[in-house]
Amino acid sequence: MRIVIILVLAGLMQAAKSFGPLPSVGSTPAGTALACGYLLLTAFFAGSVFKSLGLPRLTGYLFTGIIVGPKVLELVSDPMVANLRIFNGIATALIALTAGVELDLRSMKPLLKTIGWLSVIAVLGTICLLTGAVFLSRSWLPFFANLTLVQTVAISVVLGVTMVAQSPAVVVALHSEMQSDGPLTRTILGIVVMSDLVVIILFAIVSSVAKSMFGSGTDAVQAAGSLAWEVLGSLIIGILVGMVLAVYLRYVKSGSVLFVTAAAFLVAEVGQRVDLDPLLIALAAGVLIRNLTRHGERLHRDIEISSLPVYVVFFAVTGATVHIGELMIVGIPAVILVLTRATGFYTLGWLAATLAKAPDVVRKYAGFGLMPQAGLALALALLFVKTFPHFGAEGSALVLGVVAMNEMVAPVLYRLALVKAGEVGQSKRAPIAAAAH
């Protein structure tokens, strides 16, 4: 029945497109509303079909976006996808807020050692592996042809840092969907949040250094200032946002769902326009509320109620932006890099967890939790294009190809890992939207 509904919706969408505005008219606000409604319904049902197949709903949302998006069926066009990107910011902020609320520092204290080892060995080690893999694959990548050896190494490092980025969004959404809790869940959450910070800082440093290799010297003070503004500024603003949310939750008993959604919208839209990181802002706010107030649970529940439509559209739109074309062009090196990344995370994750004397489930499955990739890598790919305009687009295509493959496979693997670790359904939270996510 669900498949029939999906097919009928696709038929209606196709009919609307054939009757609708002429191509020359372009995207209209009505087209945006239509695409939003269509993606909400179709991705939701696709998610439930995937769930019945034992796959994450999230993969269903992503898959829907890929299939109905501009690269395959074109039921949702490029301008429609562009207009729906407003959901990305809100979803990112809500997800980061959730991640922050999940980060109970007291209960995570025993895991800090493992998180530290994993961040250093697995993340930094995988950056080295990816750098090596990019360097060795350069014969397949034409944009390396005119670079000197030093420049090649520098760009390989930048691409290595870019491609190591993980996805707190996917991880948090999967945890929420699976109602998982336990050492693996908490450790992975801690690492993806931590490595998000590490990757942002590393990218800023290595891209500045690499840029100087091309003769366009960068002002180190200016670069440091920008980085400090982005990281420290975001954290400070995040603390302020957290205080406002805490005051609201403390004194106002109703309407907090709307308030939290509005705050997420504000953080996302204003933050990115003043070069702050919405993810860090929301994360800091969430951590503050969880660890310094008694309203963490209520905030978590409010986010779960409001976030379902936002998540569905966000992941469907993310799927629609998967660059299938690029995947075909950079196929072989992208496959090599995906395998290198997965191998690096798995083996180095095992090594780091063993050194940290982590529980068995963490040793066995931590690598799978590091594999999901989405928003941050895409954002860094765009920055790469800006930083290296001469060949940035080609390098970005490689990153997009890797992200596309990881988007399709990694959530499935991590879901399996959570099931094997026996942490599914262990969350004590009331499953308000458990079936939903």
């Binding site: 054939s18 505005p21 209209t28 239509l34 409604g37 939701f44 407003i86 919208f265 204003v270 326009r273």
Partner: protein
């Protein structure tokens, strides 16, 4: 083979009839478009191409088209100056009655092709006699340009959102009741004014660029209002209607409709082109449709004054039927008065668009009905309701139909099909109704251009003729039906407030037909709603006991 000949005759006769009907409907459907008969091909300057006709025309028989093309080809070289013949012939735009006569008898089709419609800028013909011509529509805008503009808009929107939230707060509502302004607040009119203020250049929160970005909310808001109203029309409610109530509502709808139509059409005919297009008919019909209805708050107002339950129910039933008539009127206008032809790729006759509207609503409603059986949690219900309304209204708006009407049909389908989680849908609607409704009014207010005085003149006429029509409808209905209205009921029906649906109808019209004259109608209806609200308040103060409780779409 003997049966073949009469069969052929029947088929060809049917095709001919269909062709005639299609041509007839096609002309009706395109009546709204400012159109002129295209000049003969030889009148065009050398080197200039004729405008291409729509790719598909309604009511054509393929054989006739072939014959026409053959005739065109034969006539084109002689009629078109060299250099343009090829292009014109290829586009098929040079066919004229004159060229038909040049074709051989064998090539003459069964039917004359109607004159080719060519859009022309409005208001270039006869000069308006009473009012100045409206200004041309504003240039298109394409999104927010600068970060500061974005931040200003976001902060402004958040501030307005906070106000919307405060408006729903219980303490604030209690204060409104104390100040006896709850009805005005419930109708959401302050948000219309807030939207208009936010749109002002000096404030610039909802600038044209920002409005372009948040315009999808308009379709969603219209759809939401339609869906909410449709979801109230269950079979039980219709069964409970007495014939007298039906007749009464017919009168209280038809009389104001006719009076507004006549008066506003007369006024509008001075400012729009006569007889080149039928825009004044369209505009007057929209105004009449918006004015014919009474807001849902009317029975509540009665209830608050201490009227008996049966009185309130009677008035509520009449109001429900009036709303149905209003939606039906909008459906007809949206189907038969299509926007400019270039906005959609398919050119269909008006009746086909009418069926398209019905079919779209029924199909989407059926799909959603099938889908809702699979839903488990509260969050999923909210998602499904939001997705359904967004999809239905987006699709309607995309095809330049009314999102309000299509969503209304979806609502009717969902509430009247057996079984299904109706209570959960009702809860989901109630949960999201207020914020979406207020946001819609905000956007509606920002689209309002109250500067043009013509709109205010229209408003005075609109309010006066509406009151007159309502009064006449009640008087005639009382004489022709067995209904004995109490003084309170009579006053409630005559001094009836204008509700969100009326505002939604003109805002929908503005979305469909971005002509300058439609903005006058928005002024007429929004201004009329405010003026009527004041009249209703003054009328109700005399016997008022308490103010009605706030509710969603008023």
């Amino acid at each position: 083979m003997a049966f073949v000949r009469p069969f052929r005759r029947v088929v060809s006769g049917t095709l001919l009839l269909l062709g005639l009907l299609g041509q007839d409907m096609g002309c009706f459907g395109q009546a709204a478009a400012p159109a002129t008969t295209e000049k003969p091909a030889d009148a065009s300057p050398p080197g200039q191409e004729q405008a291409a006709p729509p790719s598909r025309r309604p009511g054509r028989i393929p054989d006739m088209l072939k014959a026409k093309r053959a005739a065109r080809k034969a006539a084109a070289p002689a009629a078109v100056p060299s250099g343009t013949a090829g292009a014109a012939g290829a586009s098929g735009a040079t066919a004229t009655p004159g060229s038909n006569t040049a074709a051989s008898p064998g090539q003459i089709p069964l039917m004359e092709e109607p004159p080719i419609i060519k859009p022309t800028p409005p208001y270039l013909g006869t000069a308006p006699l009473l009012m100045q011509p409206p200004p041309p529509p504003p240039p298109p805008v394409h999104g927010i340009q600068t970060a500061s503009e974005a931040i200003k808009a976001i902060l402004g929107l958040v501030a307005i959102f906070a106000l919307a939230y405060l408006a729903g707060n219980a303490r604030i509502q209690a204060l409104e009741q104390k100040l006896q302004i709850a009805q005005v607040m419930t109708a959401g009119l302050p948000f219309v004014l807030l939207g208009a203020l936010a749109h002002m250049q000096q404030i610039g929160i909802l600038s044209a660029n920002v409005l372009w970005e948040i315009r999808p909310l308009l379709a969603l808001g219209l759809g939401w209002i339609g869906f909410s109203i449709g979801f109230r029309f269950n079979a039980r409610m219709v069964d409970s209607l007495t014939p007298d109530a039906t007749r009464m509502s017919l009168h209280t709808t038809a009389f104001p409709f006719c009076s507004i139509l006549a008066a506003c059409a007369l006024l509008l005919v001075w400012v729009e082109h006569w007889p080149a297009n039928a825009e004044f008919v369209r505009d007057a019909m929209i105004l009449a449709t918006a004015g014919a209805m009474t807001a849902y708050s009317a029975p509540r107002l009665l209830e608050a004054r201490g009227a008996s339950g049966s009185t309130v129910d009677r008035i509520a039933a009449i109001v429900e039927l009036e709303q149905l008539a209003g939606v039906f009127g909008l459906m007809l206008v949206a189907a038969y008065f299509r926007p400019q032809a270039s906005m959609v790729s398919w050119q269909l006759p008006g009746t086909a668009w009418l069926f398209m509207t019905l079919g779209m609503g029924a199909t989407v409603g059926g799909v959603i009905y099938g889908a809702l059986g699979r839903i488990e949690s509260e969050a999923e219900f909210s998602l499904m309701v939001l997705g359904s309304v967004c999809f239905a209204s987006g699709m309607a708006s995309y095809l330049r139909l009314s999102p309000l009407v299509v969503s209304f049909i979806v609502g009717i389908i969902l509430v009247n099909l057996p079984g299904g989680p109706k209570d959960q849908i009702r809860e989901a609607l109630a949960r999201m109704e207020r914020p979406i409704y207020l946001l819609f009014l905000l956007v509606a207010g920002s689209l309002w251009d109250p500067i043009q005085w013509q709109g205010w003149v229209l408003m005075l006429l609109f309010v006066a003729t509406r009151l007159f029509g309502k009064w006449l409808g009640v008087v005639v209905a009382e004489k022709r039906t067995a209904m004995n209205l109490t003084q309170e009921e009579r006053r409630s029906l005559i001094f009836s407030p204008i509700g969100a649906l009326s505002i939604a109808i003109v805002v929908n019209a503005q979305d469909l037909y971005p002509d300058a004259t439609v903005s006058w109608m928005v002024t007429a209806v929004i201004g009329g709603a405010i003026l009527t609200e004041i009249i209703v308040q003054v009328a109700s103060r005399s016997g008022a006991i308490t103010e009605p409780e706030p509710w969603g779409v008023s």
